[in-house]
Subunit: 346 residues, 2 copies
């Protein structure tokens, strides 16, 4: 099987400086992979000039525009038709590539992807899904900001899409799916969460009920479905705490000569620890619910991190994630809601 991925080479805070080395790394790692770098051709060729690579597996597609990190989605959609982001997605639409990867701004990427690639039949709203580390492995969390005010049906669909993804990319036969809530009692939380709870209880996926924010990291569930606002708050708060802890840890070891010496002794341990929770290994959020595969890299990603986003795209191509989602969402949510019509909750 040969896989071709279109890379928005200009997206993100660092553009070519990150996307080009990450692409070369991915090509050397995956012999089945080809890449199209989309962006400013002269600049990309200059960045490639000093490197050795298999030219038959790497091509460049010129794009004269760039979607800026603060461009509104509507502007990106209307005024940036010649952007590297748009052309990368066009290549996927035309079947030239099977997936696109971009570190460009999330709102624009979601809007342009929806417009160019369309959502799958039966999917109300696509969602952004990322992996986060847990005490026992990792968890898939969605939505992370594409949908504010998702209804119960959408939240249930997120649960099913996450289950399909975890099944495909983790070879997990029965992913445990949960809904994010603020208490375990069924009386708490929003009506939409109660609606999704009913839908998922009556579905054939391995739905395990509600989790609270802290349980995301315990490793006892594989998928957490939530509204985009809530998911974004959970993700960003978690990033903030992790940064603060790392800040105070460094600070403690930098206090004086003695603590610095202790830091030298502890360095290999601290390094091993850091690798364990390194968020860069989890870079590459999936835009689930589209007809094709789009992976969003963190805007500030470095090459190591962007490489992981490319690897995620390749894996989803191999596993054919969009087609799995299309068939599962239909089967799981429809069949059951036919037999057992959802009671109106008061």
């Amino acid at each position: 099987m040969s896989i071709k991925i279109a890379i928005d080479a200009m997206g993100g805070d660092h553009g070519i400086k990150v996307t080009v080395p990450a692409s070369l790394e991915a090509l050397s790692k995956f012999p089945d992979l080809s890449i199209v770098l989309v962006g400013n051709q002269p600049l990309i060729e200059k960045a490639l000039a000093s490197h050795q690579y298999d030219e038959s597996r790497l091509s460049v597609e010129h794009a004269e525009q760039i979607v800026e990190m603060d461009d509104l989605p509507s502007k990106a959609l209307r005024n940036k038709r010649k952007s590297s982001m748009r052309i990368a997605l066009n290549l996927v639409k035309e079947g030239v590539a099977q997936a696109a990867v971009s570190a460009g701004n999330t709102g624009a990427l979601m809007a342009v992807s929806k417009f160019v690639l369309k959502t799958l039949p039966g999917i109300d709203r696509p969602a952004i899904c990322t992996q986060m580390p847990t005490m026992k492995g990792h968890v898939h969390v969605l939505d992370l900001g594409a949908n504010v005010g998702a209804d119960g049906q959408s939240l249930a669909q997120f649960g099913v899409m996450g289950s399909v993804l975890a099944n495909a990319v983790d070879n997990n036969a029965k992913p445990r799916v949960a809904l994010l809530n603020i208490g375990e009692e069924e009386i708490k939380g929003h009506q939409r969460i109660k609606d999704a709870n009913e839908l998922l209880k009556n579905s054939s996926i391995n739905y395990v009920g509600y989790v609270e924010g802290d349980e995301i990291y315990q490793g006892d569930v594989d998928v957490v479905s939530c509204d985009g606002f809530d998911g974004n708050v959970a993700l960003k708060s978690s990033e903030g705490v992790a940064k603060m802890i790392s800040f105070y840890l460094k600070d403690a070891f930098n206090k004086n000569l003695l603590t610095k010496l202790a830091g030298l002794v502890a360095y290999p341990v601290l390094k091993a620890f850091k690798e364990k929770v390194d968020p860069r290994r989890y870079n590459g959020a999936s835009l689930l619910g589209l007809r094709k595969i789009v992976i969003k890299s963190h805007g500030g990603a470095d090459a190591f991190s962007f490489y992981h986003a490319i690897a995620e795209a390749r894996l989803e191509v191999i596993k054919n994630v969009p087609e799995l989602i299309a068939s599962e969402v239909k089967t799981i949510l429809d069949s059951h809601s036919d037999d057992q019509p959802l009671e109106k909750q008061e």
Copy 2:
């Protein structure tokens, strides 16, 4: 000034084992403090028997019921009128004590407090406010779960209440107040957040705009106002990540003999670091918007942690927080919305 605080001695996961030693510690630390321990009198007296303390400053009030951690708020309200929680709040209502502290279940404590003590005039909904550590000090975050689906007016009131609290307990003349959102562009987020944004922009508090979850911990704002669902998700997710990081850090130092030795060398540094981010120092969430002072301790609090909740109650009594809130909320939000009526947002 003499301050009397009523302690729900039976609340929380550990009850008397925690509340009694914490109370004794607070009495020895604060000469202006008196305490009424409310709960099972024989058990409390037994716990006190082995200790030396000033009997004129510590009394026991018997209560024959306990609000359990999983009691529904409605049940606590109707069927637990002789509970330690209820009687502690009654003592505050009657003016015997100026504040109550409980580690009992949050929903019940809020419901019973609202019923017994009433909300301040002009306050739509009381909120739960806690301090969290930041890279530069700490931040007050509210609401943390009392209000799900708070409207713009409530979110604005939370901002004002947080500002009053930060001003009073931190001696911060111009606390920087922010609204939790998922992006800095004004187009993102819920309508209620945009409404609150308008109200706060037109108020006289030091409103600085939106922050995202990660910015809670950066130390550039002093107060973050948010809906109870969002605040709870932020708080719990943060707790979860912190636990996970601590788990992997311990794990890394426990790998083998060599890493254990490194851990011994690094121990004083790790200890200093841990104290810096110790959540126990931030225990004691304020139920703001009530006519009297109620402090909610974490259910799993140890004595050190519960002592901090008592200290917070004492400080709020000294600063007279409820009266400050009553006057400020009225002045700040009313005066301005009269001059500049809020435009309907589309």
